[in-house]
Symmetry: C2
Subunit: 344 residues, 2 copies
């Protein structure tokens, strides 16, 4: 039999995990007999405490830094949590650093590398279209997580879904429901990263199904504002509604989809009866939202783990930078239905 | 005239901030004439680049660690962002560390202090009812942020709203709308922190208005599950609906309020027409939700800044631990209306 876990101890003693924890931590709020029984059981078992605190035994302070661009995109929170968990497991500190929309993430990265001496970096968000010479100044391993440049060079390490393909999948799903006037909320025009890829996937699906691409259905984010946020989705949809008609709206993040629903409601348009709304990311918020939001679920846990694994392997010299692609999942929910012929 | 900022440069050149950034960072994607004009303007001005990267000049690696307990509570994300921003400003690294519900945050803190040598700690979440002797082992400055123990000792540093008072305020508001059967989603029974204070505020308001307190209207979270989360609100409300009747539901976080709305919808109960729902925290999600969620807004930015300021002042020896209380704001939104006399 392998090592016992804290859950095994709890089970054996017929108590909850938190009670075992209280016993081990000499917490006053526990029945003395229960405590004795637990400590006895632990002593007799081959239980090795392995919670994160006890794992922290090591001699030097190793850290990685996680640079997050786009603070309004709550999708990154799940990724950061996952990354931090992997860091704990590997006994690394996880230094969190936000990058403002108008800041250059590579500049920040170069300075952090110099000043804080992390062993590696993870980039979340941002367009990441930097000149190659400047990238080469970054001399420690780094992984782009859920970032993928349209023209990305092979030698960058990146972990993400195939944004082009997933976006195609969503657009195709809306087309198959019968929608032809499908508006899209997308990244700023100059974007060359996932925003561009998602827009290209949308265009290709329209093309393959013989639906003309119409620029008036495309609402580009403002480059200097917080991008994939509730507010951004709300504002872009307000603008769209002034300019054009559509039966479906594809927001390229769940946060923006929820902002969009709010703008539609304020315009007296009910979702999904009068307008379908789809998102991207697969966040909890969208699952509990009413109507629940149809979306592409990015496998956040897998992406976080693969990002960390790749980075740590690169730090150890066991891996060269390469690119990993995960499959997204189309979650068909309440916010999308076939269109009703109507006018706004 | 003081130093010019990047915005002043942008304005003077008639371009956006990102264009100035591109010029300064030798980005290829810029018109050469525009670039020259910008660089010329910068050269002639007294502009001192002061974005965060350039601020990072310093000689030793200083860090604070932020321990987050309760990963499902997206409210903490805003606080962490605020804290990280303050760290940047002070040239400190911000080490992020999550604590599982069943882990003891003080154990984790003691280990981190030893292993990662931060200059200070911030605790977010958790009940924080540790024996005094154990607290005293923590020899570096620390601040409890949005944590407040029911029996907190004066010597702990803490920054929060007055959870008792704010919760009283919300309950009073619901009572004044005409509700008497007000269910509450609250922390586990053994909680001695903000959860308990919010429950006490609820009880006191009922008492002051002569409404009997009914234990069947109180739904306690499971101590070992993720607490202030969408899912937790959803599950607790499902349970409540099996057991009792009510015309208003007060969830003690916005995340739980949204989960509750979902459970109510699945039971065929419309919000707010058939049941009012109120939250706590004042997050963006609740603002964009349909119906928008009535809540107590915690001043996140102020709390984050005050937490960081107090911690840094304690690190510098300029301040002793003390407690700061901020005022919450009752935001009356769409999710709460007077009750209709009805039966579930």
């Amino acid at each position: 039999m392998g090592n016992m876990t804290i859950k095994d101890i709890a089970k054996k003693c017929g108590v909850g995990v938190s009670t075992v924890s209280r016993a081990m931590n000499n917490h006053p709020d526990i029945n003395p007999e229960t405590k004795e029984k637990i400590l006895q059981t632990i002593a007799e078992s081959n239980y090795v405490p392995n919670n994160s605190a006890r794992n922290l035994k090591r001699t030097d302070a190793k850290a990685i830094a996680v640079l997050v661009k786009g603070i309004g995109n709550t999708f990154f929170n799940d990724l950061v949590s996952g990354l931090e968990r992997e860091c704990q497991r590997m006994n690394y500190s996880c230094i969190l650093q936000h990058v403002e929309e108008q800041e250059d993430e590579l500049d920040i990265a170069l300075h952090i590398t110099k000043e804080k001496k992390p062993r590696g970096l993870v980039f979340l968000g941002g367009s990441f279209s930097h000149p190659r010479e400047k990238m080469e100044q970054l001399e420690i391993p780094y992984v782009l997580s859920t970032i993928r440049a349209a023209d990305m060079e092979e030698k960058y390490a990146a972990v993400s879904v195939d944004d082009f393909k997933e976006s195609y999948k969503m657009t195709e799903y809306l087309i198959n429901l019968g929608h032809e006037r499908i508006a899209i909320l997308t990244a700023p025009k100059e974007d060359k990263s996932i925003g561009k890829l998602r827009l290209l996937g949308y265009r290709k699906a329209l093309q393959d199904y013989g639906i003309p691409y119409s620029e008036e259905l495309v609402s580009y984010m403002n480059a200097e504002e917080d991008r994939y946020s509730f507010r951004s989705g709300y504002k872009l949809t307000k603008q769209l509604l002034q300019d054009t008609e559509f039966t479906a709206l594809y927001a390229t993040s769940d946060t923006m989809a929820i902002g969009a629903c709010r703008a539609l409601k304020e315009a007296g348009i009910s979702v999904p009866a009068q307008c379908s709304v789809a998102g991207f990311d697969g966040m909890d918020t969208g699952e509990f939202y009413i109507p629940s939001i149809t979306t592409i679920r990015q496998p956040v846990e897998k992406i976080a783990k693969a990002t960390a694994d790749l980075l740590f392997d690169m730090i150890k010299g066991k891996e060269k930078p390469h690119q990993l692609v995960f499959e997204g999942e189309l979650l068909k929910r309440e916010s999308t239905v076939p269109p009703v012929k109507r006018k706004f």
